[in-house]
Symmetry: C2
Subunit: 347 residues, 2 copies
Amino acid sequence: MAATKAYGAQSATSPIAPLTIERRNPKPHDVQIEILYCGICHSDLHTARNEWHGTIYPVVPGHEIVGRVMAVGNHVKKFKVGDLAGVGCLVDSCRECDNCKEGLEQYCTGGATFTYNSADKESGGLTYGGYSKSIVTHEDFVLRVSDKLLLAGVAPLLCAGITTYSPLRHWKVGKGTRVGVLGLGGLGHMGVKLAVAMGAEVTMLSHSPSKEQDAKRLGAHKFILTSNEEQVKSVHHYFDFILDTVSANHDYNFYLGLLRTNGVMVCVGVPDAPAQVPAGHLIFGRKSIAGSLIGGIPETQEMLDFCAEHNIVSDIELINIKDINEAYERMLKGDVRYRFVIDMATL
Amino acid sequence: MAATKAYGAQSATSPIAPLTIERRNPKPHDVQIEILYCGICHSDLHTARNEWHGTIYPVVPGHEIVGRVMAVGNHVKKFKVGDLAGVGCLVDSCRECDNCKEGLEQYCTGGATFTYNSADKESGGLTYGGYSKSIVTHEDFVLRVSDKLLLAGVAPLLCAGITTYSPLRHWKVGKGTRVGVLGLGGLGHMGVKLAVAMGAEVTMLSHSPSKEQDAKRLGAHKFILTSNEEQVKSVHHYFDFILDTVSANHDYNFYLGLLRTNGVMVCVGVPDAPAQVPAGHLIFGRKSIAGSLIGGIPETQEMLDFCAEHNIVSDIELINIKDINEAYERMLKGDVRYRFVIDMATL
């Protein structure tokens, strides 16, 4: 085991602060990665503050990890020292259930191992995330990262990117699809970029007029201000697919009304309040409301390759790790365009 | 115009009673059908009693119509005098919208003409349904009916049959699909028969132990008593597809928990209360909740042909039209296995 510098929370009310964790020495199939950048996801904050309950302290958040391979176990074939590499939300899974066999490790029914605050089968303790100098991960859960892209902007692809890419692919969004993206934040801005790159006609749906310019800059073909009745009327029964990235409470029925026949609204945000949907709003028009969780390892690799091919990264604000608590506060206010990424050289 | 004997309601509180309506004389594309049998659907009762509002009186319900062609307009090619024929929930549509062009007349955005209580483009008045001696309908909305099946049992296929057939087909239910059918009534019993005939493994989900024997007789491979924890546990994360035919209020989340990854729950019943679904119940497992409305004309014909091929009709109780008000009361109590059909010879 090796003592490793990290940042984490000691309790639900303590700030994110320096601490030291133990990382295992690389086993034959392990890849040891020097972490260069780590994105800050809302899940990090929810977990650090125990807002989803179940946090065990100390917790080291961070699951948008990119870096450079420092060492590999002697059976590792996919990576060599010096390669760029990434780790997302998953570091292991049961590998035996139907979902794992299909590469849908995110839906592992045997119990996936998440990158932080998850039981670690190797150490017997807990997993620690990317707010740290390095990480040791089984090669099967390490992603190849292109050197063509701005590396800091790649980090958020590992969660925000795959969370939006996966439903767009699963529901076959492409040329001829009318996509609405609801919410322009860390997830929404990736949803716009990815759906545009897939060839869809993309409309940003937002209640904030200030987002229009940015939405267009990100590639959105249209912008609909959801408080403007005339604009909303123009997209009534319009969309094939709505990607709902909002985690504040909102009225799902308003957006179901914007779907055309066979339209699907996919939720990737988790509001406190349940969706309240009269069956009739689904029946007239054969509409669906669905959910989607990150993506499996093969699809995450596919997404990274797609982003390299289409020159897509996240729009980020790079921060010094000592400013992380301020970044959390700004994230809560939506004051980031569109993802904070920690420069791990500052640790 | 021809005076035609019928049964209908004069107000929300009056019983279904004899009245006389006017039917148009057949135009060049019209088919005039002597109605032999008409099924009784819950919609008939809701409309007769104005429970969905918008009923204009007098109303003549009935949209599960089978009979024999009495006359055809001189441009009619699909039918000749003496043929069996059926009319379901739709008698016309805009014919110009994308949905109509795809044969999805049930989702017509230009305004479909329903078989009763709908603005009638031909007469300028209202449409009148199947509780009558005859009906005159444009050939495009008349279905061919096989003479191989018990005709009275065919009538409910025109609504209960297509309402369950359409979602089973749309979501590609077949060999290897694990289907749960929720609720064993007019819709549910057709859902079981059709899904079994499509090759699926079918489980009846019911809170009533008395339904087990019937479910098995209808072809269900399994029966799960939803109040029995052990039984329910055995189908946790089990189904690919749940057909929810229940129109009483119920907890959708209970059934979402029975879906496996990528599972879809389709509602065809309309409870008073909205579905209340936390986004997380959809996200973990990429599950969907959807709705489906009857079917279009091409699919309704396909369903009738499928039923003829597989020897499928509805289980019915044939009644004299003078007993219709009693039938309504019994239907409200669920005291029918599984559809009342009016013998129109009694009119």
